[in-house]
Structures are given as structure tokens and as C-alpha cells.
Amino acid sequence: MKVAVVGAGPAGIRAVEVLVAAGLRPVWIDEAAEGGGRIYQRPPAPLKRDAKALYGFEAGRATSLHAAFDALRPQVDWRPETLVWHIRPGAKQLHTQSGPRRDQVEYDAAILCTGAMDRVVPLPGWTLPGVTTLGGAQIALKAQGCGIGRRVVFAGTGPLLWLVAYQYAKAGAEVAAVLDTTPFATKLAASPGMLRDAATFAKGIYYIGWLRAHGVRIAEGVTPIGIEGEAGVSGIAWRDPGGREQRVDCDAVGMGWGLKPEAQLADLAGIPFRHDPLQWNWVPERDVAGRTAIAGHYLAGDGAGIGGAAVAELAGARAALAVLEDAGRMVDAAQLSRLDAALARQQGFRAALDRAFPFPRALAAGVADETILCRCEGLRAGELRAALAADHAPGPASELNRAKAFSRAGMGRCQGRVCGTAAAEIMAAALGSTPEAIGRLRGQPPVKPIPLVAEPVA
């Protein structure tokens, strides 16, 4: 049986581990040079790889995954630095690109572990050099030993906001402020649910406490006003819960409001999506084992709905077992029930976490007309609103892909990964609709830009 696994993060590593243990030799593909995923991304070899310094409390988990990856690599058809830019579910074929080389991979079963990226809200000034996602700020530090600036503000909401701020402060960067759009009371109300994973909850509390104890300026329940600067960042302004305007000087801003699945391949595979009311994301539909409506196609990890790295490990192993089960192979029933029970336990914690750090819908819906919405196309929020109001044949856009055609929002090189969430909120507010009714931007091959090379006629 030919199995392809896309992604070598926590989900992909544990999936391949199960497949190899069953005597299979899967094709394993990742855009990165090595396994670990974005969360446990290893620095290039010339940098030191001190796990404790790089991953903190997660060092044990990271080291275990890296060790598993290193052991598995010689036992599989490992294809690093390779992009899967298209999937054809009927032909069961992946189309890949690695440097100048293009290839196709045939499979009987594919497990897609494609991960996530930051979910962002456009702010005035967010295209300035010096503004990155929270995940980007973390990668700069973990994988390159660099801070995104000398005096950094972190803005947004979610566990990553506090983690990255803590990591920067520990590494010697000056954290000028942490600005959380979620009020303290919202987090407090969700804390009983978060006790379902007391260890993870305790880490979060530790980061916040550490930052407070070290005198880092913290503001909760804020409304960002904008990032200031000309050629780079010079400051950020916000409104506090009392409505007073505040600002602080800084030379960089990391921003993000939770994560969203990188689910373009699931989309191209024809897997149905649903709008998850708690995560406030579009997620590809799957069962607890990662099976989807498209036979032979399985999903695991954050690409199948945000669950975090610990859930991804469990889900990766579970999806690989589903592949084996569906192929009529014997699987360890005890292992199955262990994984299912662990996954069920995590669900309650995750739900509480989503309640603790809700997506700021009003902030996204209210992006000012003159603020750039779509970075790729340099398109302002007002231009999307104008396109919605315009009378196009056979009628105004009521759905996101139609609005994309009229406005170009989401038509750029990132395919709406960055602006899609906010664009849907802006549309929903303008039309008195909901993001669920507005829909999501369809994936298109190639899922990322690839070089177009034409060979001369011989």
C-alpha cells in the first residue's frame, strides 16, 4: 500500500511513526528541510540547537519529536524542501515542486498534516517593515536567533501572544508592551474549563505572571488604533477599556489573533468544510479518527482544525491507524482506545481556550475604509465595501469569492490566507449577514506560487 504523508510537524511525525511500525514505507513530504513543523522548527545546522533554550517548557516534547523524526527519516521516502502544490483526489496524485524539480506522487491513502498560520486583523500601518505575525516573530527567534526589533510590542490575543512575549523578554529583547484585545474577565470566565489541562493552563499563567513580575507593560481589553511609522515602525497606539488613547514607542510589532488551518490541499481534495462556531474558523470536515468524506484522504493536526501540538501528535497517530484499519490491517485496539480517550479529554480544554481568547469580530468588521485589507493587492477595506455596494450583473456580491472577483480582495499571491478572515467579517457586517453565509475563499492550484518553466523546443 502506498501512503503519502504531507507535513512533518507533530501530526505528520506521529502518523509516519505508526505507518513505519506497521511495515510501510510512506512518501513523506515537507516544505522545510527538516521535521518538527513550525512549532518545533529546528534552526539550520550552523545555529546551536539547545532544546531548552529554544523550546522552554516544551523542550521534552520537541526533543522527542525530533528524535522520532531522525529515526524515521532513513525508513521512508523523505522529500524535504518540497511543496505539494496540487492534489488530484480522483487520480490519487500529489503534484510537487522542489527547487527546479517537479514531480508527481501516486498514493492509495494520503494523510494531510498541513498545519496552521496566524489569524490576523488588518490594522493601520500593518504593512510597514517591522510588523510580523506572532508566529513569524517566534520563528525569527527560534530558528534564526533574532528578534524582529530592539523594542517590540506584541498585540492580539491567544496563548501565543503571551508565550512569544515571554520568549522575547527571556532572550534579551525589550518588550515595550503586550496588548491583548481580550478583557481579563473573559479569560477569567473560561479558566475553570482550562483546568481540564492544568499543566498547560499553569504554563500560560506562568508566562503572564513572569511578564508582570518583570515590569512589562500589559494592557487587556484594548482596541488597537494603529501602528505608526514611515519607512518602519516607530510606535503603536490603542484605546484602553476606558476609551482613553494610549501609545508607546517601539521599532517592531508582532500581531496575531489565534491560528487558522492551512487547509488548501484539503479543499482541493474536495473535502467539505464547515464554519466552526467556537474556533471561528473554516475547518475541513473529518471524524475523530481523521477520516473524511473523500475515501483515501485523512486529516490530522492544526490543518484539520486548531488543536495545538499535543492534540496534533495524538491525531496524527490516530489518522495513521485509520489508514491501516481501512486497508483491513490489524491494529492495536488498546492503542486505539488510548488515543481516542486522550483526544476526547483535550476537546474540553480546547473549547475553554477558544472561549478565553475569542476572535475580535468587531475589530475585523470595523477595519477603517482607508486601511489596507489585502496586502498582496494593496487593496483598502473601503474598496471591498464599495465593491459590495456596486451593482454588478447579475447582482451585488453576497459571497466571498464573488466579492473577490469584483474587488480583487484575496486574489493576490497568498490566495487570501492573510486577509480572508477579515474580508468575510467586513462583508458580513456590511450585508447584515454572517461569515458562515459569506463563505470562504476557494483554494486554487498551485496553492503557493511555483516557477513556470518552459523548455525550448529541441
Binding site: P46, T127, I139, A171, A173, V233, D251, V418
Partner: protein
Amino acid sequence: MRLVRLRDAGRPRIAVTLDGAALEAQEGDTLLTALLAGGAGHLRMSEFGDGPRAGFCLMGACQDCWVAVEGMGRVRACTTLAQDGMAVRRG
């Protein structure tokens, strides 16, 4: 934008050029790190006139850090390792 080297800043030096000007970088740098820690300030100008850009997601998703490398064509600076002698043009 100036990336600040906080850790592991004593690696062997490599040299790249940006629009013909020499920049000092270190082995293991991505092109984005090499350029933005080396003082480039930005990586490209938005083709729609709204100013300079220097990447955003740093994980290969947003496509905002494109630069051109001699012999390689257009690449994402955040996912391309810097090599000694690379000649880079702003994207």
C-alpha cells in the same frame, strides 16, 4: 526593519550583495535574516505604491518577502538559506 541578533551571533561570516551593495551575513541565516539583520531595511516595494515591505508571516505563507537571486530567480527570502556570494535584488 532591523532584525536584532539575540543568540548565536558568532557564526562564520558570509557575504551577500543586495542591489550590488555588500552585506555581511552569517552561515545559517535565511535570506530574510541576512538582509534585514544586515541593514537592508526592507525587501521590496509594494507594486501598488503603498510603500516598502519586509515580509510578514516568516513561514512561507504570505508571499510578502519575495526577492530575486541571481541564478535562482524569484524566491521567498524567509524560506531560502543565504549562501556566500549570493547576489540579491529587491523583489
